[in-house]
């Protein structure tokens, strides 16, 4: 005995079957096939430092705040990083007061202070001068534009060559560092907890005006060939950090926090590195 299935019912089951086939095909084609995989990206050094065995972190034209001796701290930090993370031998020398040196160089030759400690790294005062550019240098460095006139110090090849000769032709690291306070007033949205008359809890977004304080770090690293006094490479970075206004964070710890972000970039200029990360492979 055969039972006749009504045509409409038969069509429905066929439609269901074909839908299932479509879904299966889609599931096979677009299955959740992804795999997290750790990778190590090799980053080549940005500069060829093979001609150098030694590195002199000379000093920086620094400013922005009086709370931190930015020149001294930057030299100390970079020297310690280079000692542990590069193959170059780090020269221990007095930190050069580059602001004073630049000012000394910008004075006409006759006005040079005799026996000025600003002449060279050892306070010799007999280093070559910049060629007759007497543009006044700002006495206090508070912002980027105050640093600009100091840039010509790095173009004084005769001066850097003399420094190079004194330290047996190392790679010289110098530059400018601005570490300045920063404030920011912004509207911040926060969820506020409220209870209604039945004691039920809910959160309501509330916009509040918030004053935040922090610091901005803007270093420019200049790498000079100590054999010729010429700039090989330079790079600049900007980082900032902001805290709630009532939070009292010492300037020095903010400085180190910001430098911590930049040090890998600085090191990658001198030595090859492997950056670890994770990516998603798809199938």
């Amino acid at each position: 005995m055969t039972v006749r299935v009504p045509a409409a019912k038969h069509a429905n089951s066929l439609a269901l079957v074909s839908m299932a086939a479509v879904l299966a095909a889609v599931a096979v084609a677009c299955g959740p096939s992804y795999f997290e995989i750790p990778i190590e990206t090799p980053i080549r050094a940005k500069m060829d430092v093979s001609p150098f065995q030694r590195v002199l972190v000379a000093g920086f034209v620094a400013g922005g705040t009086d709370d931190v001796d930015t020149n001294l701290e930057t030299v100390r930090l970079l020297r310690s990083q280079l000692r542990s993370k590069s193959s170059l031998r780090v020269i221990d020398a007095d930190v050069m007061p580059l602001v004073e040196i630049a000012k000394d160089q910008s004075r006409p030759a006759g006005e040079a202070s005799e026996g000025s400690a600003a002449g060279g790294p050892d306070g010799g005062g007999n280093a070559p001068r910049a060629s007759g550019d007497a543009t006044a240098l700002p006495t206090v460095i508070r912002e980027e534009r105050d640093l600009e006139p100091y840039e010509r110090l790095f173009a004084n090849t005769a001066y850097w060559k003399a420094i190079g000769e004194e330290f047996q032709n190392p790679l010289i690291v110098t530059g400018t560092v601005l570490f300045a306070p920063k404030t920011s007033n912004t509207i911040v949205q926060r969820d506020q907890e409220v209870f209604d008359s039945f004691g039920r809890r809910r959160t309501v977004p509330q916009r509040t005006f918030m004053e935040r304080k922090g610091f901005r770090l803007h270093p420019k690293f200049v790498f000079i060939d100590g054999r010729t006094g010429t700039t090989i490479y330079s790079e600049g970075y900007i980082e900032e950090i902001l805290y709630p206004a009532q939070q009292n964070t010492p300037a020095l710890s903010s400085y180190f926090e910001l430098m911590d972000r930049l040090v890998p970039n600085f090191l990658s200029a001198l030595s090859s590195q492997k950056i670890r990360g994770t990516r998603v492979l798809l199938n």
Binding site: A11, L14, S18, A21
Partner: protein
């Protein structure tokens, strides 16, 4: 009538996987093999497989994504960028490809920042 429509749907769907489906299936096999060897650290073999996959099916975004990761791991950053860009061109809304590319750019920007004043 409904029967005919259902039959048509089935025919269209099943035959909508034309020659390109074969290519995609072959490419998928290459990609899957590439993934399995990459997971064992054999990145060069993986790259070879993924390169084969994009030859077989040049519209396969996942293969370009994986190839980009392989190039990245080998430090071939220019090739990696091109492969990521192609993957995103094929699937602009793929979140995972986009995320991989963003992470790549973070490293690549670090590599290319600064200004070399002497060659």
């Amino acid at each position: 009538m409904a029967l005919r429509i259902a039959a048509c749907v089935a025919v269209v769907v099943l035959s909508a996987a034309p020659a390109s489906a074969d290519a995609r299936t072959d490419a998928k096999e290459q990609v899957a093999f590439g993934i399995s060897v990459a997971q064992r650290g054999l990145w060069r073999e993986a790259i070879y497989r993924w390169e084969r996959a994009i030859e077989i099916d040049p519209t396969y975004a996942a293969a370009f994504n994986d190839l980009a990761i392989g190039y990245e791991h080998e430090g071939q950053l220019d090739k990696a960028r091109k492969a990521y860009e192609k993957a995103l061109e094929l699937e602009p809304d793929n979140f995972q490809i986009r995320q991989n590319f963003e992470l790549f750019k973070e490293i690549n920007d670090r590599q290319s920042s600064g200004s070399e004043t002497r060659q």
